[in-house]
């Protein structure tokens, strides 16, 4: 299908993009990579009257280390994350996750910020940003505010972003040298959205894991952390009994919801499968 008619503007400065967004109200839509937006426009699921293309806004670009944080601009593409040496060094979980996002032609355009702002519970970046305790840097008319990933993902496709705000960047604490990570998703075909996935990080000392963050995606209306399972594992020597206990705990604490093809029970089962594999991997 073809999109309905709309106007198109391409501001160069963040301040101009913000004013245009304010001015356009509900009829305006930001476009970054367009890899979600244009599909919905082609399907006429949405008919905005103006698209504000933010891809010329310099403030939203680039990956850098700023003091003890890795700063990823909203416009950084999935491919740039996949290929970045800074990411590989300071947030290796993201490098492992990137190839699972769609296919290269989509990763070449789709952005980090677009994915976070869209807030799809089946997407990789929201889950990774939660596991890595990322902070979202947001700009609006009133200036800058920061929101932790924990408070950013509110519900299905619903984030803490107001309609006149722009996600500018994300700050991620640099991975400590004893950080271990695990990323895995169960999908019908490589590149498809996961039926269930796990993005996990921890700090490892021998067979003891601490500061565990186990974030599951595609199982609920937002990415979710298995906090009780994390507490159970933190600081204890990992053995098969502890793994079995953690698997049960995670299955019980997460309020899994069904999708079109998979029941909540199936998702709960997969949560355990992923956690068991993940824990074995983390101490291996």
């Amino acid at each position: 299908m073809k999109a309905a008619a709309f106007d198109y503007v391409k501001p160069k400065a963040l301040s101009d993009a913000l004013s245009l967004l304010k001015q356009g109200g509900d009829d305006a839509r930001l476009i970054a990579g367009g890899q979600t937006l244009l599909a919905t426009l082609n399907m006429r699921l949405s008919e905005p009257s103006v698209l504000i293309d933010i891809t010329d806004v310099e403030e939203l670009k680039g990956i850098s280390v700023v003091s003890d944080k890795l700063r990823i601009g909203a416009l950084v593409t999935h491919t740039e994350i996949e290929d970045s040496e800074l990411v590989a060094k300071h947030a290796p979980l993201l490098k492992a996750a990137a190839p699972h996002i769609a296919h290269r032609a989509i990763r070449n355009l789709g952005t980090w910020g677009g994915s976070l702002a869209y807030g799809d519970p089946a997407a990789e970046w929201p889950a990774c940003s939660l596991a890595l305790q990322a902070t979202m840097v947001i700009h609006g008319q009133a200036g800058e505010r920061k929101v932790s990933a924990k408070d950013f993902f509110i519900d299905l496709y619903t984030t803490a972003l107001e309609s006149d705000e722009i996600l500018v960047a994300t700050e991620i604490p640099l991975a400590p040298s004893n950080q271990v990570f695990y990323f895995h998703e169960l999908a019908r075909r490589h590149g498809d959205y996961a039926v269930a996935g796990l993005a996990a990080v921890a700090q490892k000392d021998g067979n003891v894991l601490s500061k565990c963050a186990f974030t599951f995606f595609s199982v609920s209306s937002t990415p979710v952390m298995a906090t009780a399972a994390q507490d159970l594992i933190n600081g204890k020597t990992l053995n098969s009994e502890l793994i079995a206990e953690a698997v049960n705990t995670a299955r019980n604490e997460i309020d899994a919801i069904a999708d079109i093809t998979n029941s909540a029970e199936a998702k709960k089962h997969l949560i355990g499968v992923l956690l068991e594999r993940g824990l074995k991997h983390l101490v291996s």
């Binding site: 008619a5 082609n42 769609a102 490589h190």
Partner: protein
């Protein structure tokens, strides 16, 4: 209200000026306005890869990219890449392996394969399959397509080039 926008871009090495509606996506512009029929349209929602073209050196989904977004960019289609010879060994290998039936997916497959060969010259068979999974072949000829790409990777790794052995009619 006049919603038309002026754009200026390079398509297959030629500077093109046009005035288009912002809602026109790149492949409609290439096919309908420039009569380049190489990029195909299947799903128009990013799922099938038939519309794959290159913008500023990277493959993209031509159905999820607006022609206005290409203002100032360098666009390449299978037509231009065929002329410049970039795809020659892949095309020869596709022919040797009979890696096409109706050919609808071929231009997208070739462009995706070319990016793989460039970015991951050491890709193994499994990785070739994974990469190509972004492009649907309605005739389901994946096996011969994977064979064709793997042959090009092998030949290039040995510093060889797959050259035409016979003249094609």
């Amino acid at each position: 209200m006049n919603l038309k926008k002026k754009i200026s871009l390079t398509v297959n090495g030629t500077l093109v000026n046009a005035e288009i509606e912002p809602r026109r996506h790149l492949v409609d512009f290439l096919r309908e306005d420039l009569h380049l029929k190489g990029p195909h349209l299947g799903c128009e929602q990013g799922a099938c890869g038939a519309c794959t073209v290159k913008v500023d050196g990277q493959i993209i989904r031509g159905c999820l990219y607006l022609a206005v977004q290409a203002d100032g960019c360098v666009v390449e289609t299978v037509e231009g890449l065929t002329k410049s010879g970039v795809l020659a060994d892949l095309q020869e290998s596709f022919m040797r392996h009979n890696a096409m039936q109706c050919g609808f997916c071929s231009s997208g497959m070739l462009l995706a394969a070319a990016e793989l060969v460039e970015k991951q010259p050491k890709a193994n068979r499994e990785e070739v399959r994974e990469w190509i999974s972004g492009n649907y072949c309605r005739c389901t000829g994946y096996h011969s397509i994977v064979d064709a790409i793997v042959d090009v990777l092998d030949a290039r790794a040995k510093g060889q080039k797959i050259k035409p052995v016979t003249a094609h009619a």
